[in-house]
């Protein structure tokens, strides 16, 4: 057992955090308990920022299969899960990673090879669908996407939808029931993932969650989910979070498991803690392009490491130092990002 797992175990035994001790798990325990084969999952973050990578690598190590991933623009986390063969069905708005991958490499290969069932939506549409799930309504209207091929083409057939208990249709175009003729809207089915996994900066010792910087659609994703796993950089005294509650974003009773995982979003960024890791993302870019090299990447960086702590040892102190965020700016100024 690594030091990180020991620290979690110790915290639990010593009841250092008595109010969350039964929810405080190692990545291994959290994934084993909540993520099953065929689960519908959502992951927090956006492209190169605050993806719950420690939990994602753990899903890969546990060889979770046939996941139904519902994503807006999850970038790095999405590409690793797809590339490792964990995902069978994907609802997605964007499979890219900014300048590090105009189109994510493993995502692209998997779609072109027909290894993945894909249903396309837009970012706003996916976010609205999470919001509908969070509000416990069955669908949500929008004006975005009328007359596009997002409406014309269905990735999941109606037979498959019926067989797998999914919403009957991808979406429905209908006249605004409150309006006049020719005022169409799209109705989008709500999303209620079995599990949402996200990475936050702070968890209070009472279980309150605080995210710094942009929250993306993390909170809608969390509120729509049956179970929520939050990994975090730090567990801090509750008074620290409760003296400025306006900054907090999830109450303890919405979260099912907490995982203490410093640098748990690496190689994506975590505002005020570390920047994204350009060197790692550039290496990823090279290795993900080629099947054999990709297998090597997984062997070396995921299967070949026992747990998150082992992973950080492999990344190395100097690499982590380079991306360490300036405590005022929240990122690493002057970082070599070429």
């Amino acid at each position: 057992m690594s030091d990180a797992s020991q620290r979690c175990e110790l915290a639990r035994i010593s009841e250092q955090y008595p109010d969350i001790c039964d929810k405080l798990l190692t990545p291994k325990e959290a994934v084993a308990r909540y993520v099953k084969n065929e689960s519908m999952i959502a992951i927090g973050g956006f492209t190169i920022n605050r993806n719950p990578m420690a939990l994602i690598y753990e899903m890969v190590r546990q060889r979770v299969r046939d996941l139904h991933l519902v994503a807006h623009s999850n970038g790095q986390g999405l590409d690793v899960l797809v590339g490792a063969g964990c995902v069978r069905r994907l609802e997605v708005a964007y499979g890219g990673n900014g300048r590090f991958a105009p189109t994510c490499f493993r995502f692209r290969k998997a779609v072109e090879r027909g290894e993945l069932l894909v249903e396309d939506y837009s970012n706003y549409q996916m976010t609205l669908r999470f919001l509908a799930g969070a509000l416990s309504v069955p669908f949500v209207p929008t004006k975005s996407g009328l007359q596009t091929d997002l409406v014309r083409y269905e990735g999941f057939s109606e037979e498959m939808r019926a067989a797998e208990c999914l919403p009957k249709k991808k979406l429905i175009v209908t006249p605004n029931p409150f309006g006049t003729d020719g005022d169409d809207v799209l109705l989008l089915p709500a999303l209620t993932p079995d599990v949402t996994l996200l990475h936050a900066q702070y968890v209070g010792d009472d279980g309150t969650v605080r995210i710094k910087g942009l929250s993306f659609a993390d909170l809608e994703q969390a509120k729509a989910a049956g179970a929520v796993i939050v990994s975090c950089e730090e567990i801090v005294p509750r008074w620290y979070l409760r003296q400025d509650p306006d900054q907090n974003c999830l109450p303890p009773f919405l979260v099912d498991a907490y995982v203490l995982a410093p640098y748990g979003a690496h190689p994506t960024a975590c505002h005020y803690f570390y920047d994204y890791d350009p060197a790692h993302l550039n290496m990823y870019k090279v290795m993900a392009k080629d099947d054999a090299q990709w297998q090597r990447y997984l062997d070396e960086w995921v299967y070949g490491v026992a747990d998150h702590e082992d992973y950080l040892d492999k990344v190395g102190g100097s690499a982590l130092m380079r991306i360490r965020a300036d405590s005022v700016l929240g990122f690493a100024p002057g970082l070599d990002r070429r």
Partner: protein, 266 residues
Amino acid sequence: MREEDIVPNTETQVLQYTSREMMAIAAGRFIRNGDVLFAGTGVAMLAACVAKRIHAPKAVVFFETGGIDPALTELPLAVADPRVMDETSMNSGLIESFSIVAHRKLHTIAFLGAAQVDRYGNLNSTCIGDYHKPTVRFSGSGGACDAGSLASAFIVFMQHGRRKFVEQLDYLTTPGWLTGGDSRRAAGFARGGPIAVVSDLGVMKFREDSKEMYLAEYYPGVTIDEILEHTGFQLDASDAVEAIPPNEKELRILRTNVDPQRLILG
């Protein structure tokens, strides 16, 4: 592709610049004080930064991820780059950012890239070939369909080429003027539509009534024939004029202030 081309300036004092620099500056000229800009990364980011530093300091840049009016002291490489969260007016999320894109009292301009564009400014950023068995898969809509649907206007960035300026899109991801004329309004969109396509060869706009694309400007050193040759559909060039080349100040700010590491300029 054409990134390496150095386009000579025709004036006596010869300034050298790349096609990417010309694109950033040409697109920046569409930005006015008070505009609220939905920016992607890449050349769009450069255009917004140059405009803000030169002629439109009161334009506001925001990102679909939720960062509103960041300081942008360093260039973001993705819309979720922590640099879009720095010294913002506020940090929010996707729901908030799309409510801004669609806000009826704002003049919002979105900058979008794509793999293909057609004569009505509809965009494909999803795939080439059959959707269910694509020969090439791209990233997908992201926020492009949303911004194209909801913003007051949008501007497209493209590399010119016959496989990019196409008669028929392989997949319509983002609604432009749809089938032209009044079709966009008829579809149920209250406003919006593409106002320009900025390529590495010139600037295209859309006719008032038909909504068909036409060549408005060709860059110095580029011929109209060259542009027509690289366009996969009939492009009306009857009103084309030569674009004003970048001036010394624009280039200086772009190179020394906006992208000194040449992360996007290359």
